[in-house]
């Protein structure tokens, strides 16, 4: 008989994690899953939304539940790259320079309001994200294993922002939006206790060794030729249709597959399905299809993805 759920064992801690997180951030299970999938696919996450909808809370929550070492960087317009990466200071005792690592040397980095910083500082962060290492003063320093950035961004119409250019948006595997909670979830939120305290009281669901293992597992999820053909058809459509100013790059296609694998893992499957592609498409593809600073609401990202999905038949 066919074995339909080979990975039931890995589903348990992840399901528990999602359940716990859902108790803190109410009515946003989909976004929590996406964030988790992004982490499992070893990508970085960009959360774009108005202040106060729970971006920071989500980052805190993930760090706590995953048992990761957490650092937060609040981006401001007067920030310098050294404020992120770190700086060498002369140590009189040893008679040499000693490197004081910046806040980026952590497993999970929350880059809060990344579009408030100047492009120079932004690119320091984005370079570190891409290379997973930092080079200052001639020395290359590797960032901790499982380095994961959650950047938050305000809608760029807001005053005092430097919107990330397309090339840098591309560095983020996913962009998600939280959106306002619905009425029932908001009522529960208002009734409940302080979220920070609740997070502090949570126990990590994963041990530090489990996360890399899960990431390995996600990368090994089977992707069939039929699915690759589907990804190609989607990408080809964005390249030829006049509806999109820019088409999806090969990197975007790779990102789609990686995210779909992680999503399949979260679903407890050993192979990825077209549904997985379709589930991650709004978060993986839409920010790569739009011009910079084109802030769209959560709904319209969904709508763009839906129109793309419906334009491309399954091969």
């Amino acid at each position: 008989m066919l074995s339909l759920s080979k990975s039931a064992d890995s589903k348990a801690p992840l399901a528990e994690l999602i359940h716990q997180a859902g108790g803190i951030i109410l009515g946003k299970e989909r976004q929590i899953r996406l964030a988790l999938a992004c982490l499992l696919a070893r990508g970085h996450l960009l959360i774009e939304d108005l202040p106060g909808v729970g971006k920071t809370t989500l980052a805190h929550l993930l760090a706590r539940l995953l048992g990761m070492q957490f650092q937060r960087i609040q981006f401001t317009s007067d920030m310098l790259p050294a404020d992120i990466i770190g700086v060498s200071v002369f140590d009189r005792a040893s008679g040499g320079f000693v490197f004081h690592p910046g806040p980026i040397f952590a497993q999970l980095v929350l880059a809060d309001e990344v579009n408030r910083a100047t492009p120079k500082t932004q690119s320091a962060l984005l370079e570190a994200m891409e290379e997973r290492q930092v080079t200052t003063e001639g020395a290359t320093r590797v960032l901790p294993a499982g380095f994961f950035v959650i950047a938050t961004q305000n809608p760029s119409q807001q005053i005092g922002t430097f919107p990330l250019p397309e090339s840098q948006l591309d560095r983020f595997l996913m962009r998600i939006m939280l959106g306002y909670p619905d009425r029932a979830a908001e009522r529960e939120l208002l009734r409940g206790s302080d979220r920070r305290e609740m997070i502090a009281s949570l126990k990590p669901c994963l041990t530090p060794e489990e996360l890399p293992a899960l990431q390995m597992k996600a990368a090994r999820i089977h992707v069939s030729d039929a699915l690759i053909e589907y990804v190609q058809a989607l990408v080809a459509h964005t390249r030829t249709s006049p509806d999109y100013p820019v088409g999806l790059s090969p990197r975007a296609a790779l990102a789609l597959l990686a995210a779909a694998r992680a999503w399949a893992l979260l679903e407890g499957r050993s192979h990825a399905l077209p549904e997985d592609i379709q589930a991650v498409l709004p978060s993986v593809a839409v920010h790569r299809l739009q011009a910079a600073g084109d802030a769209v609401g959560y709904r319209s990202a969904e709508a763009i993805a839906a129109s793309l999905i419906e334009a491309v038949p399954l091969p």
Binding site: L2, H222, H271, L273, E310, L314
Partner: protein, 664 residues
């Protein structure tokens, strides 16, 4: 179109459109008046500059003003807006202006269609093989522009390649339509009446210098193909206009009374051949002397000139037989003989005086007088040249006594003049002498530089006899060709030059090809079509039969393409085939069997799979709509999923999937 705002064209699309527009315009440029060509080119440069600098297009009122001004200029230049050249000038102008207002995709498509049309108008000027090949390239470029209009980001090379493939795919259809589309009599392209100016060829008058002008032209006058062995080079006298009337300056055709019977009896050796005459817009045909049959397109004049019933405005083919040995005009009518003695009073006194003194010397022996004239040419060292000096009023006197340099028309004219002055009936015959055998296809090519003029004299016992004074001076002109007759260093038409042998070979091949093109493509008239189709086995082809066959064959061809296109699709995964079968089965599923809701439109339940719907999503949707088979559907979906996406494709799994779908 209010409300439906179209996306503006991208810079790349605009660039391709300009390229397509140039491809349509440039080949027409030589046929346009120079000022218009320059103006149009300027418009294109302006448009390109706007594109380069990303500037907005000019406002509409400015364009309207420019169009009005240019239309006025065209109307003034041609004095009309009708006819081929003014219409095309106007079309080119409006076309160029259109590029200045192509903003949205719709304008782009209009421009592309116009470009196609403009390319076709080239056929009104030239229908040569080279032109057709060039047009094919232009159409490829325009089609590529059309492809880029539709697919913004398609690569240029790819678009060109795809356009070429599309045209190649259209070729069989084109061939079919060409062969079977019922033909009307007349040229493939009906031309307005102003289309024939500028054709080179002999004219109905001859003055000193008129044939030596033709001597510089490489253009083909006609081709001839002999059924047997062609006659010797020196017999190749292609008779054209016979010039009897002389007014002191120029020779011209007499009024002719054409008939369709031979005025002489044909006898002796005969040569059968087919002439393919290039259009020359004049009402005569050419035949070796003397024609023994009259083609249906022609008539024979009293001076044995073969006339066409209408001016030859499209390439004309006729079969004809000639008898070189005929003696004609033994009992010539006195009226014609009187005409052949006519001379303007008081012209060329010196020549006249010499003729009279010779007559007094010789007496009544006409033959001796002729020989004396020919000897005079030889003794006085006359020279044969393509660039004779200009002659004044008494041209014959000046030529015979002063300049002594001339081309064939000088010799023929002076000879005939002298004969008449001496009382021998004579006339000038123009036409072509010689021709060049193309070894590739065995046809004889006669070019304009082979134009020739010679004399005919009438003698009592022999009738009309050809006397070619040129042959007396430079025999090689008649026995070989023009190049050998002219002195060294004389500028020859390019194709008459004896050097560059490889070029000659190439030219022969090219001409054979062009001849085939003329015969089979341009000369494909109703008779040829009937003949060809009868050869293919169609009995008594008429236009109804042709239309039916054409439609049927086009249908078969298109069906073949469709089958090929379907067959060349990738082989479908059997699991996917089964899955699609399930979708179709559910779509057909009658509502009665499912829920007893009563008859409804088939497919009204919307149970077919959406083309983009994944297996799980589809299974869940069906499960929700048809709860009674939910479990089974989910299981089928799971098996399919495992087969297609799970990487565990097995024969058993496929069998089970098929079985379950069948049983459902």
């Amino acid at each position: 179109m209010a409300g439906t705002k179209q996306p503006p064209l991208s810079a790349r699309q605009s660039l391709w459109l300009i390229a397509a527009a140039l491809a349509a315009f440039l080949p027409l440029a030589p046929y346009l008046p120079q000022w218009l060509g320059i103006m149009t080119a300027l418009v294109f440069i302006w448009r390109s500059a706007l594109l380069w600098r990303r500037s907005p297009l000019p406002p509409r009122w400015l364009l309207l003003l420019a169009v009005a001004a240019a239309t006025l200029a065209i109307a003034i230049y041609y004095r009309t807006l009708l006819g081929r050249s003014p219409s095309i000038a106007l079309l080119v102008l409006l076309f160029a202006m259109k590029t200045l207002e192509t903003r949205a995709a719709r304008d782009g498509f209009a421009l592309v269609l116009l470009a196609y049309f403009l390319v076709m108008t080239q056929f009104l000027f030239s229908q040569s093989l080279v032109n057709a090949a060039a047009m094919l390239l232009e159409v490829t470029l325009i089609t590529a522009a059309l492809l880029i209009m539709n697919h913004q980001r398609q690569g240029g090379v790819r678009a060109l390649r795809q356009a070429a493939v599309m045209l190649a795919q259209a070729a069989p259809l084109m061939l079919l339509l060409f062969v079977l589309f019922p033909r009307v009599n007349g040229p493939l392209w009906g031309l307005p009446s102003d289309a024939y100016s500028g054709l080179t060829g002999l004219s109905e008058t001859m003055r000193p210098g008129s044939i030596s002008q033709l001597g510089r032209s490489d253009a083909i006058a006609f081709r001839a193909r002999f059924t047997g062995r062609p006659p010797a080079q020196r017999l190749l006298y292609w008779r054209g206009p016979v010039l009897t009337r002389f007014d002191g300056g120029s020779w011209s055709m007499d009024r002719v009374f054409p008939r369709n019977t031979l005025p002489y009896s044909a006898a002796g050796t005969a040569f059968d051949y087919t002439v393919t005459l290039e259009p020359h817009n004049k009402p005569w045909l050419f035949a070796l002397e003397l024609p023994g049959s009259i083609p249906p397109e022609g008539l024979l004049a009293a001076d044995y000139q073969l006339l066409a019933k209408v001016p030859v405005r499209s390439r004309l083919r006729y079969d004809i037989r000639s008898y070189p040995g005929i003696s004609a005009g033994l009992d010539e009518s006195p009226a014609i003989l009187r005409q052949a003695l006519q001379l303007p009073p008081r012209s060329n006194p010196r020549a006249r005086a010499m003729a009279l003194s010779w007559r007094a010397d010789i007496g009544i022996d006409d033959e001796a007088l002729i020989q004396r004239m020919l000897a005079y040419y030889r003794r006085q060292l006359f020279s044969y040249t393509l660039s004779p000096p200009l002659l004044g009023e008494d041209s014959i006197d000046e030529f015979l006594f002063d300049s002594r340099r001339g081309f064939c028309e000088h010799f023929a004219a002076s000879f005939v003049f002298m004969m008449r002055a001496a009382g021998i009936p004579a006339r000038v015959v123009t036409g072509y002498q010689g021709g060049e055998m193309n070894p590739v296809d065995g046809s004889l090519i006669v070019r304009q530089f082979e134009a020739h003029a010679w004399g005919e004299v009438w003698q009592k016992e022999r009738g009309w006899v050809r006397v070619d004074p040129t042959a007396a001076i430079v025999p090689s002109r008649i026995e070989a060709n023009l190049a050998s007759a002219l002195p060294q260093g004389e500028p020859l038409p390019f194709l008459a030059r004896p050097d560059f042998l490889w070029l000659h070979d190439l030219r022969y091949r090219w001409d054979a090809l062009a001849n085939t093109w003329n015969q089979w493509v341009l000369g494909y008239n109703p008779e040829r079509q009937r003949e060809f189709l009868a050869n293919l086995g169609m009995r008594s082809p008429d236009w109804q039969k042709m239309t039916i066959t054409m439609t049927a064959l086009c249908g078969v061809l298109l069906a073949g393409f469709a089958i090929w296109a379907l067959g060349s699709r990738r082989k479908i995964d059997p699991a996917l085939a089964a899955w699609n079968r399930l979708s179709r089965k559910l779509e057909r599923l009658g509502p009665r069997r499912v829920g007893g809701l009563g008859p409804r439109r088939v497919g009204g339940l919307g149970l077919a799979r959406f083309p983009w719907e994944g297996p799980r999503a589809y299974a869940e949707r069906i499960a929700e709509k048809l709860p009674m088979i939910a479990a089974e559907i989910r299981l089928i979906a799971a098996i399919y999923e495992e087969l297609r996406y799970g990487g565990a494709a097995s024969r058993e799994g496929l069998k089970e999937l098929n079985m379950r779908i069948r049983r459902l």
